[in-house]
Every structure is written in structure tokens, then in C-alpha cells.
Amino acid sequence: MLDLVEQYGSKGAVVVLGNHDAAAMGRSDDALNRNALAAVDWTRAQLGPRQREFLASLPLTVAEDDFLFVHASAAAPGQWIYVSGPREAAESIDAGGAVYVFSGHVHEQKLYYTGTSGRPMLFRPVPGTPIPTSKHHRWLAIVGSAGQPRDGNNAACYALFDTERERVTFFRVPYDFGAAMRKIRAAGLPDRLARRLERGL
């Protein structure tokens, strides 16, 4: 998986560091629970020098034109703040200084947008519907989790932004979570990590 991401990165894809990546590199993270720590320990054991080097090279944020990419909140990228409401969204949008902020960390697909008052409002996207996102507003898109969706739907999440037509589309795609569950169990990781994939929790 990591090698695949590295491949994409070498072809110009934007890759930013996430909290689990940082933890696997040995930076302590108090927010992680026992199960997550078990996964982190497993991951650490799998990493070779090349992968470590790749993870170490990852930036916390990438800013390009009107875009800012960050794993958690742009207000303090290394502190892994959850953008869980309009207040956190406002902080991230303000700190990001871009028209569009794309982030993850929160596993559900969400789109925050500001109107004339500047206060961000929450919209829950309808998968597959392209949303016009003009530059008159500021936008914070939480694209959702590809590997561990948590909204009760086990389909993986991703989003595409069309720079030409200025619109964002959120997607959900079914994937073989059964295979992922078998691999988790085969690796001897906590069963809960496998079970949650099936239920999307």
C-alpha cells in the first residue's frame, strides 16, 4: 500500500502526513487507543528503511494555487485536531488561507462552506452529485476515509475536484472488505479492527 502511494507521489501526486503515519514513525500520539496502537506497532514492524525515509519526507501540508491539503486541521497541522464542527472548520479555513481546503482525519464525508457572513456551514454531500464550488465562497472538504469509513456505510470514500469547472464530487465505492478483514485477522491484529470494516463503524 505504502509503496503504491510512494509511486503516485513520485509521479506528482500530493501526499501529506497523517497521524497514524507519524505514530508509525515513532512520534507519540496520546489520542490513539489500544487497538490503534496495536496497528501502529504492527505497521512499524513492516516498514523497511526506504518506506521510513518516504514517510519522514512527507510534509504536514501542501499548498498549491487555491488549494491547501492537510490531514487534520490547518490551524495546527501537527496536533491532529478533529474538524468536528463549524468552529473547527472556521479555524482550519482561516489558517489555510486558501479557497479550498482538503482534509481527512474525520472519517465522514463533509463539506463546509462560507457564505456572506463568513461563518462556515455544514453540508452532507450526496455521493455522485457534482457540487459547484465557486471562488466567491471558501470551502473545506473532508473527503472521508478510503480504508475505514465510519458512517455506517462500508463503502470506501473519495472525492474528485474538477479545476476546470470548479466543482467537487464526493464518491462512495464498494470494495472487498472481506479480504481486508481476513488480512487483519491473519496479521493477528485486534478483531475489532476487522469487524468495524464490515459495519462501517
Binding site: 457564505g115 456572506t116 457572513s117 456551514m121 453540508f123 450526496v126 452529485t129 459547484p132 466567491h136 465562497h137
Partner: protein
């Protein structure tokens, strides 16, 4: 600053013709030249220094909503649009029709005409609502009627589409939209309730019926909020010839709490097109507004008015799903009547919220000639209704869950298919001819319904006939 567009200007290849509207938010031009199959207009928002920010957002909203709704006869088709930064415009179908406000001078109108216009408007609203769109600016200047009677809703600058972020959902200092027809919840900033459009429709029907506005012309927010507790003067008090059914429909649309109004525009279309069938309540016969004690009580309650939660999206088709049962006239086959009733029972068990529409088709009145009350056209019509009621009685459905319809037509099959289409029927139950007999019951109507009704069709045959 680009120069203002005028007749003769060319924008992105479109040549502007006559200016047909100059409003506070936009100007509208006819387009000249042969651009294609549709006559077109270009709407250019008033953007720029000194103009309101809401104009920009209204433009974006209009573009998003019109671009997303399915093409339909009930709103203009969006053909092209320009960039909001450089050349903002919308090119849309030009609707050749009469604007409702041109007819307001004729109010009070005859009830039959109000029913016709109201049905058309309700069907247009229903077409939007089933796509999770709420218009939120329904008023006579935003409704056009095509020459065939269909209503077209225009100006989606304040609309809400459930599939897109609502750019107008802000803590607005001043309620956005037309205050005359605005629903109470909309005054408080709720933008996701299709029943707000139903309130506005009620306001329009009130105006057509009485020539007066239900809540006057509020000039301040405080005056606007009087509708939270002050009920309108009953239409029958102003125009005594108003039938109770019309007053019932109008006042139900104008209920303060959205939950007390019709749940869907589709139900209003049905009520207006079958006025004799609607259950009348105290609303229909009300003669005066609420007295002082009631008013005082309501006013105290209004201070804590909490709008009803918006209904969940995409549910309108499920609100009162209609199951139609076609019961052929002169039905003598009791076994089939029982079998049809059993099929209706199954449908009710499968969807306890559904409405059963009992239908029978009779030849048009003109071909009926008879002597005496029971042989006259009206007499026979009434007899059919009694038969239908008799059939439905054992189902023991509450009054609002069952309706009776005597359709007059020479072509029963076509009449049933039309009924299914017009009323968004989800499921129709029809009787099969006895096995081995010809022709089909309804003279081939059954085959036609199976062949072309846009819904589920159940063909019922009693076991004993097998």
C-alpha cells in the same frame, strides 16, 4: 467595469433582443437569431458595485438548481450560463405564457377556475418537491401558465436544493423572499421545508378567491411575524359564494405549523381536482377569525414558535402512496369484488400509510339519457359513488385514507392510465375477466392498463373462477 448590456449587444455569441424585464436582481432579454429549437431569453444578474451580495449568490443558486433538476414542462430549461466572475448570465427557455399576476385583477375568480389554476400550480410544485427542491419564492409574478393550462415556475434565485450546499442558509437579518406569501418557518430562516411552498400556494389561492391578501403587506419584521398567531379572515366571510371545499383547502395550506398543512403538493392537486371528495373540517365552514381570548393565547405561544422539522428528503413519493383499485361498473360478480378487496388489504398491509383510490369508469354523461332521478346522469353518478363506498366499507379505513372517483370516459383503459399518470399512483389493482371468457373486463381496458400504466399493476382473478 464592462458596459451595461443592451438590445443589440452580443454576449458569448448570443445576440440580445428586446428587454422584457428589469428587476432589482436581474434584467432579462429575448435572444434573437435562430439558436435552436427553443425560443430563448438571457437573464443577466445585476452584479457590481453597489449591488447586493445576495444577487451573486442568487445567480449561483439559480444556475445550480436549474442545472440539476430534470428537464420538465414546469420550469424553464437552462441552456447555457456564463462565468460568475467575468460574464454572468443564464440562457433559458423563453416561456410563452400568461403571468399569474396579469389575472389578479379578475379576483375573486370563479371557484372552478381557481381549482384549475391551483391544480396546475400544485402539480408544478410537486414536480420540484419530489427532486428535493423547494422554490421558496412562490408568488404570482413567478408563475406562468402555458396555453395548455400547465403551470411553469420561474426564478429559482432563492430556491433550496437538498443535494447542494445551501448558499443562502445564513443567519439573515431580514427574511429573504416575498413577505406577502412567506411561510412562518421561512420567516425564521428554515429553508428545507417543501411545505413552505404549500403555504405560499395557499396565499395565492386566497388572493384568487377573495382579491385580498391573507396577511396584508407587512412592512416590518414584527408585522411579518403577526402570521404566527393572527389567522386570515375566512374567504367565505369576504366572498360568501366561496364553496366550503375551497376555503378548507386554502386555510389548510395556510396553517401556521407546517405539520397541519397538506403533507405534499400532490395531495393539494388531488383535493382541488376532486373537490366533492375532500373531507370538510371546521376550516371549511369557519365564519370569523379567532376571538380575542384565542388570539391572546396564540400570541403567547407564538413567542416560542418552533418550526416543524423539515421532512426527510426524497420522501414525497412515499407520502401517502396511492393504490388505485379499478372496480368495473355494473359489477355483479361478488367473488371478484371480494378478491379485489383482498388485494387492497394486501396492499394496505404492505404499506400501512397508503391511500386507496376506488375508481370506476362510466360512459360520459352526454350519452346517458334517462327519466327520473335515479336514471339522470347525476343520479347514476351518485349511485356509482354509493357502490364504491359499499365496496370499501369492509376495509375500515379512516376517511382521509380512501377516496372515490367516478371517471367519465368512453375509453376506460385510457381513463385509468391517465388517472394513474395524473395522480402519481404507485400501484393499480384491476380485475381479470373470468378465465376463458372474452372480451377482457373493461372491454380491453385491463390489457391497456397492464400495457401502459407507469406503475405496478396487479390483475386479480378469484380462485373459484379458475
Amino acid at each position: 467595469m464592462t458596459k451595461l448590456p443592451e438590445t443589440g449587444s452580443v454576449i458569448d455569441g448570443f445576440r440580445l433582443g428586446e428587454m422584457i424585464h428589469a428587476g432589482s436582481m436581474a434584467t432579462i432579454f429575448r435572444l434573437t437569431g435562430d439558436e435552436g429549437p427553443l425560443p430563448l431569453v438571457m437573464k443577466i444578474p445585476r452584479l457590481g458595485p453597489g449591488e447586493r451580495a445576495v444577487n451573486v449568490i442568487g445567480f449561483e443558486v439559480c444556475r445550480t438548481v436549474l442545472g440539476a433538476v430534470a428537464q420538465s414542462r414546469h420550469h424553464p430549461t437552462l441552456v447555457a450560463y456564463g462565468d460568475v466572475e467575468t460574464t454572468p448570465y443564464l440562457v433559458m427557455e423563453h416561456i410563452d405564457g400568461v403571468r399569474l399576476d396579469d389575472w389578479l385583477g379578475r379576483a375573486p375568480m370563479p371557484p372552478e377556475e381557481i381549482a384549475r389554476l391551483g391544480t396546475a400550480m400544485a402539480l408544478a410544485l410537486s414536480d420540484l418537491h419530489r427532486q428535493d427542491v423547494v422554490h421558496l419564492d412562490l408568488k404570482p409574478t413567478n408563475v406562468l401558465f402555458r396555453s395548455n393550462g400547465e403551470a411553469v415556475l420561474i426564478d429559482f434565485g432563492l430556491a433550496h436544493h437538498g443535494h447542494f450546499p445551501d448558499l443562502l442558509a445564513e443567519e439573515l437579518r431580514i427574511p429573504l423572499g416575498n413577505w406577502v406569501y412567506m411561510a412562518p418557518e421561512q420567516v425564521l430562516g428554515v429553508r428545507c421545508d417543501p411545505r413552505s411552498d404549500i403555504f405560499a400556494l395557499g396565499g395565492i389561492l386566497y388572493e384568487l378567491a377573495t382579491g385580498r391578501l391573507p396577511f396584508g403587506h407587512p412592512a416590518t419584521v414584527a408585522e411579518l411575524k403577526r402570521r404566527f398567531y393572527r389567522d386570515p379572515v375566512p374567504p367565505r366571510t369576504l366572498v360568501p359564494s366561496t364553496p366550503p371545499w375551497l376555503q378548507e383547502i386554502v386555510l389548510r395550506c395556510l396553517e401556521v405549523d407546517a405539520r397541519d398543512r397538506y403533507a405534499s403538493a400532490r395531495e393539494i392537486a388531488l383535493a382541488l381536482s376532486t373537490p366533492a371528495e375532500i373531507p370538510l373540517t371546521e376550516r371549511g365552514s369557519r365564519e370569523r377569525r379567532a376571538g380575542l381570548p384565542t388570539l391572546a393565547r396564540r400570541r403567547i405561544r407564538a413567542a416560542r414558535f418552533a418550526p416543524a422539522p423539515c421532512p426527510p428528503p426524497s420522501t414525497e413519493p412515499q407520502v401517502m402512496r396511492v393504490v388505485a383499485v379499478a372496480i368495473s361498473p355494473q359489477e355483479v360478480n361478488e367473488a371478484l369484488r371480494v378478491a379485489l378487496r383482498d388485494a387492497a388489504r394486501s396492499a394496505i398491509a404492505a404499506d400501512p400509510g397508503c391511500r386507496i383510490a376506488c375508481i370506476t369508469v362510466v360512459p360520459p354523461a352526454a350519452t346517458l339519457s334517462g327519466v327520473g332521478e335515479e336514471n339522470s346522469a347525476t343520479g347514476r353518478h351518485i349511485n356509482r359513488l354509493i357502490e364504491l363506498r359499499g365496496w370499501a366499507k369492509p376495509l375500515e379505513l379512516p376517511e382521509e385514507r380512501v377516496t372515490y372517483h367516478v371517471l367519465e370516459s368512453d375509453k376506460p383503459g385510457a381513463a385509468l392510465v391517465d388517472y394513474v399518470r395524473m395522480n402519481d399512483v404507485a400501484h393499480i389493482v384491476i380485475g381479470a375477466p373470468a378465465a376463458g371468457t372474452l372480451p377482457w373486463r373493461f372491454g380491453g381496458a385491463g390489457a391497456q392498463v397492464v400495457g401502459s400504466a407507469p406503475c405496478t399493476v396487479t390483475v386479480v382473478r378469484p380462485r373459484s373462477e379458475g
